[in-house]
Subunit: 199 residues, 2 copies
């Protein structure tokens, strides 16, 4: 295998390294547990935005759909955990999420723009990495499960991006996305020692 994986998801500045794939494949159970946490957090992120912008009907409608889908995936991942007898347990979060969230500016409308783009990037990276798990997972049934989730993750990052473009100036969206995408890839250049979806 090459040291990076192509093709790059258009949204992301840099593709995931082979080192992450090797780490993930060697720790499938931990990755599955972390994935459960990620789905719950993704539902929480959508709901938080619904609480912060309760009057934006279109935004609220789209976020409701995302939250519902994330909860469905959360359930599905938990069924996999149960089947493998992996107890639900807390896991230290990798620095990825906190570092990205630290980039969200505090004043509106920048806060909305940054929040939507951070969500978009996390979804885009999840989409890419679930795709890698689908491709390289040595267990065909689990691989098929990951493949099945990929389409939703792709739809989600698309929705977040479209929302950003709807509520914010298009040129500013492009420019900020580039900045945040570069940072997102930079965070992942150093593989976090604990295996995670976003290590």
């Amino acid at each position: 295998m090459a040291s990076t994986i192509i093709p790059t998801i258009k949204f992301l500045s840099q593709p995931t390294s082979l080192a992450w794939v090797e780490q993930a494949i060697a720790h499938l159970d931990t990755i599955l547990l972390d994935h459960s946490h990620c789905e719950r957090k993704a539902a929480g992120a959508a709901l938080n935005l619904m609480f912060r912008y309760p009057s934006s009907s279109h935004l609220v409608r789209q976020l409701t759909k995302i939250a519902q889908e994330e909860l469905e995936h959360f359930e599905q991942v938990n069924q996999w955990l149960e089947r493998r007898e992996i107890p639900l347990a807390p896991l230290n979060a990798p620095p990825y999420g906190a570092k990205l969230k630290a980039q969200i500016r505090h004043n509106e409308p920048q806060r909305l723009l940054d929040s939507l783009l951070v969500c978009a990037l996390i979804e885009a990276r999840s989409h890419e990495r679930l795709g890698l798990l689908a491709q390289y997972c040595p267990e065909p049934e689990l691989g098929a499960f990951y493949r099945g989730l990929m389409a939703s993750e792709a739809r989600h990052y698309g929705i977040y991006w479209v929302l950003a473009s709807r509520y914010c100036d298009r040129q500013e969206v492009e420019q900020r996305l580039e900045e945040l995408a570069n940072l997102e890839s930079e965070i992942l250049v150093t593989l976090h020692p604990e295996p995670r979806i976003h290590s």
Copy 2:
């Protein structure tokens, strides 16, 4: 009509007063908007508990279902708002929720017990009041909608109560429920001047 409405939901210490029914029927649009906020908050409450107790598989499974149903109801209420051309807008919350949450003790396992019982009581009161709206609403189609939601609310307060009984000492559950139910009814004795589901 009598000044109180019978029968009392078993869970609740006192039934809702006629004054609330009159206030609600006179402000159906505001009640519908507040109901939308209530459904979103109910989903948020379930999700918050999932974040606080991520390792309790059974609890997490039950709360996931509740959060999913609340989001479905949230969507349905929002469709009603759209149909009536009521824009999604923030509304001052009545003191009800904050006063109940102030009763949640800070140390475990009391915190879990109180959180579950507060959720149970809010769902029980919602169930009772949606039933009253179903009964007294002058618009048959809207009344039928409220009737349709009642069963879920009843199931939800049952689930929260069963969870409390599963994770906490049964006798303590009974005693604390009585205390909190008395307080819950007391909060509602004085009708809040702004029409709300929990005014």
